[in-house]
């Protein structure tokens, strides 16, 4: 299972709704015809996901582009 987010990248963030810390958990992401699990920081209580900026603009973009060419 791919893990793209380091602990220090979300250490400062908490879920505002639940006032609760985040932890890495398996989340399914999908695009076009593919889906796969990744470890992402989520709220321990409500499961709200956190995607850091660097993940979105680099790795996710790269994977999106690869999947678009399949």
């Amino acid at each position: 299972m791919a893990q793209y987010v380091k602990n220090e990248e979300f250490a400062e963030w908490r879920c505002d709704k639940c006032n609760c810390e985040l932890e890495l958990k398996k989340v399914v992401v999908s695009y076009l015809e593919g889906s796969f699990p990744v470890d992402l920081p989520v709220c321990k209580k409500c499961g709200q996901v956190f995607i850091p900026e660097s993940l979105a603009i680099h790795k996710m973009l790269e994977i999106e582009q690869q999947m678009e060419d399949k």
Binding site: W13, R14, V42, I57, I63, E64
Partner: protein, 762 residues
């Protein structure tokens, strides 16, 4: 595109045809490569190139008639390259006694009667193919007529050395065979031949013999298995080529395969390669005496005169063609393969989506290869088969949806009229770039042209066509046609050259007229101003094949005091700013490079008449004006101050505001209430704004996300900064926003997006 169409289109692109010199050489020596190698000081490489096609370098570098020089394109404007002298230079510094590579010996025998240059060349080729090769020569030395060449040009020692080389290769050279004229040849029943006590599968008879019926393609005589005779006793290089031609036939004869198949490129021919000489200065040969061997410096100088003939006309103005480092013939096949592939990566998707579909290549191509329609059709196929990458044109298509929504769309006759005879159609991007000019033009049209001029605000639909979205284009087209009909089928006064072209190509029934022709005829600035400034004029790709538009803009410019310089490719051959084809959306780095290259063509500020061209130049730091920027604001001509370039969000805002103003001013109408999210007030610094622009995130995207999430309360908070982070997916894209409430709105710190869908637990 099927295989057949692919082949046909490929045949239009003649870039792979041989240059004139190689086509003229009967042996098709790769002159262009040899000269490049020599120019680059690669002497060994150059000699290898020579050796590869030429059997006897020592002989032919002295006596070849060099038909290549006569056909060299440089001879049309000066003198052709002295190729033979360079060959003799290369030969002089080579190891001449090296044996060529040879295939293992076959148990098959071929014989040669006589040893003229043609026979020696054929024997050399067949021996290299592994045949047991025997030569029977009546005279006491080999070479036939070669021995008549004067000793100063071809010393007999050279012929002797060549014979030694042939013997070293394993060729049996029988001299003084007085009994072996052609009469000594016995034909055995089984299709074999007997000479003395040896049996052969086929035989070659050397020289200009009286063999009337020799097939000119195969060089076989009426008798199967007997080949020979040269057709060109007056040309040494053609004699050698005849020998080679016969050797190919003899090999095929022995292997029992077709002797006539695919031989059209043998021997001298006229090439189809096009090479422009327009910017080539005339030059003259450095080789003063063709009978002495030039020194190294002279040889290199001479080789460097070669212009390395090639077509590549289409690459001159097109960054796309340059970027992928080939030419349309190659691209056609890549496009074809990319679409036909069933599984695996479609590596050319991005390439296909990076073309501006602007038609420049067709206009400059000597064979008028229409590449842009192949790209259009390919994109349509990709959309139909659901293989179009969603990110490629999404942003551009959303812009069209915006233009054709209530936020911008207007179709109205002037107040008090049900129908109108004219309607002003400024186009979506002029309205986005310079809404004030659109207002002024409309006022002017009402005042000076016809007070029954209506207003039609929307997109012509070309964005969908460029994206391969046939259905979306048809829908946009039908809507537009209905609106025109509801206005009583007025004539359209069009303010965008791209829209003009779209109407011409896809709306043949519409009556259209260009705004510039009308402005030019109105004589607003009737007094010819003194020329006060020089600009370079850039014709938008939409103006291609519209000379009356091109002329009208030039005339207008002159009237407002502008002197124009032309770009190297202009009018029908003009280059696209990459707005065309939505290429800027699919490949932003290529788009930037294309604009930079275009901007560098002339040091003056650019004058254009397409809003997007202007904004693309401004984005890359090139000062540029739309003709209307100057027409209504001649101060700018002197101040040299370009209009500010609106960012993507501003382009939306400008259009909506324009609609609002015009509705109020001319129809006393209020625009429909905007969506509730638009009331959310945002504070965005310049710096963040440019990040949003780079990431193609609009202010209204942020408003939508905040509107959705403020209600649910879903957000993260940063313990250090106190910033909130929220996200939502209003359409196909998920946006993340880092923000803080500020006064009556929100301050934005950053925003980013992705298209991947996150399956969240809630």
């Amino acid at each position: 595109m099927d295989q057949q169409k692919l082949r046909l289109l490929e045949s239009y692109c003649i870039q792979e045809e041989a240059p004139a010199c190689i086509a003229a050489c009967p042996m098709h020596m790769d002159v262009r490569l040899l000269l490049r190698q020599l120019r680059d000081h690669d002497m060994d490489g150059a000699f290898k190139t020579y050796r590869k096609s030429i059997p006897f370098p020592s002989i032919l570098s002295r006596i070849c008639e060099e038909p290549c020089q006569k056909k060299c394109r440089l001879s049309e404007i000066g003198e052709g390259i002295s190729i033979r002298a360079l060959e003799s230079f290369l030969f002089s510094r080579s190891n001449s006694s090296a044996l060529p590579t040879m295939l293992p010996q076959k148990n098959k025998k071929v014989a040669f009667l006589g040893s003229g240059l043609d026979a020696l060349a054929a024997a050399y080729d067949l021996r290299r193919k592994g045949y047991i090769t025997k030569i029977y020569e009546p005279a006491s030395s080999a070479g036939g007529f070669l021995k008549n060449v004067s000793e100063t040009i071809l010393p007999s020692q050279i012929i002797d050395d060549t014979c030694s080389l042939l013997i070293k290769m394993g060729i049996e050279l029988n001299l003084s065979q007085h009994t072996t004229g052609s009469s000594a040849l016995q034909i055995i029943d089984s299709g074999k031949f007997k000479i003395q006590d040896d049996e052969f599968i086929c035989v070659y008879i050397s020289g200009n013999l009286e063999i009337n019926r020799i097939d000119q393609i195969t060089r076989m005589t009426e008798t199967s298995g007997i080949f020979g005779g040269t057709a060109a006793p007056e040309s040494w290089i053609e004699q050698a080529a005849d020998g080679r031609r016969a050797a190919i036939s003899m090999d095929r004869y022995i292997q029992n395969v077709s002797m006539t198949a695919s031989r059209s490129d043998e021997g001298s021919y006229e090439t189809r390669l096009f090479t422009s000489l327009t910017s080539v200065p005339p030059s003259h040969t450095f080789i003063r005496n063709s009978q002495t061997i030039p020194d190294e410096d002279t040889a290199i100088q001479e080789a460097a005169r070669c212009i390395q003939c090639t077509c590549m006309e289409c690459a001159k103005g097109c960054e796309f063609i340059r970027h992928y480092e080939a030419y349309p013939r190659v691209y056609l096949r890549q496009v074809y393969n990319n679409v036909s592939i069933c599984t695996g990566l479609r590596q050319k998707n991005n390439m296909i989506n990076s073309c501006s579909v602007c038609g420049q290549c067709e206009s400059v191509c000597p064979n008028k290869l229409n590449f842009h329609d192949v790209i259009r059709e390919t994109r349509q196929t990709m959309v139909e088969t659901k293989k179009m990458p969603p990110s490629a044109f999404d942003f551009a298509l959303r812009d069209m949806i915006f233009s054709n929504s209530d936020a911008f769309m207007v179709a109205k006759s002037p107040e008090g009229h049900k129908v109108c005879s004219f309607v002003f159609f400024p186009g979506c991007q002029l309205s986005a770039s310079n809404p004030a000019a659109v207002e002024k033009v409309y006022a002017l049209l009402l005042e000076k042209f016809s007070d029954s001029t209506g207003l039609l605000l929307r997109c012509c639909g070309i964005i969908a066509d460029w994206a391969g979205e046939k259905e979306k284009f048809q829908q946009a087209r039908n809507e537009l046609l209905q609106e025109v009909e509801s206005l009583g089928n007025p004539e359209l006064i069009v303010g965008c050259p791209g829209c003009m072209q779209t109407f011409r190509n896809f709306y043949p029934a519409l009556k259209i007229r260009s705004l510039w022709t009308i402005l030019d005829q109105m004589d607003i600035h009737s007094k010819q101003h003194e020329t006060i400034q020089t600009f370079a004029i850039h014709d938008p790709c939409g103006a291609r094949y519209q000379p009356e538009v091109q002329d009208a803009v030039r005339s207008l410019a002159k009237k407002i005091g502008i002197q124009l310089e032309e770009l190297p490719l202009n009018r029908d051959q003009t280059s696209c700013c990459t707005y065309g084809g939505n290429a800027w959306n699919a490949n932003r780095s290529l788009s930037d490079a294309a604009v930079d290259a275009l901007a560098a063509e002339n040091p003056h500020d650019y004058l254009t008449y397409c809003a997007m061209c202007r904004d693309f130049f401004l984005k890359r730091g090139k000062n540029a004006y739309h003709i209307l920027d100057l027409f209504f604001d001649p101060e700018r001509i002197i101040s040299g101050k370009a209009m500010p370039r609106p960012d993507y969000s501003m382009r939306h805002e400008n259009r909506s505001r324009l609609k609002k103003h015009l509705l109020k001013k001319y129809w006393s109408e209020e625009m429909n209430a905007s969506a509730p999210y638009e009331k959310i007030k945002l504070f965005i610094s310049e710096e963040v704004r440019s990040v949003l622009e780079e990431r193609m995130i609009l202010v209204e995207d942020l408003q939508q996300v905040l509107y959705q999430t403020l209600e649910t309360g879903n957000r993260m908070v940063n313990a250090q900064t106190g910033h909130y982070l929220t996200h939502a997916t209003p359409g196909h894209v998920t946006y993340w926003i880092e923000y803080l409430p500020k006064n009556d709105g929100y301050q934005i710190f950053t925003a980013y997006s992705h298209r991947m869908f996150i399956e969240e637990a809630n």
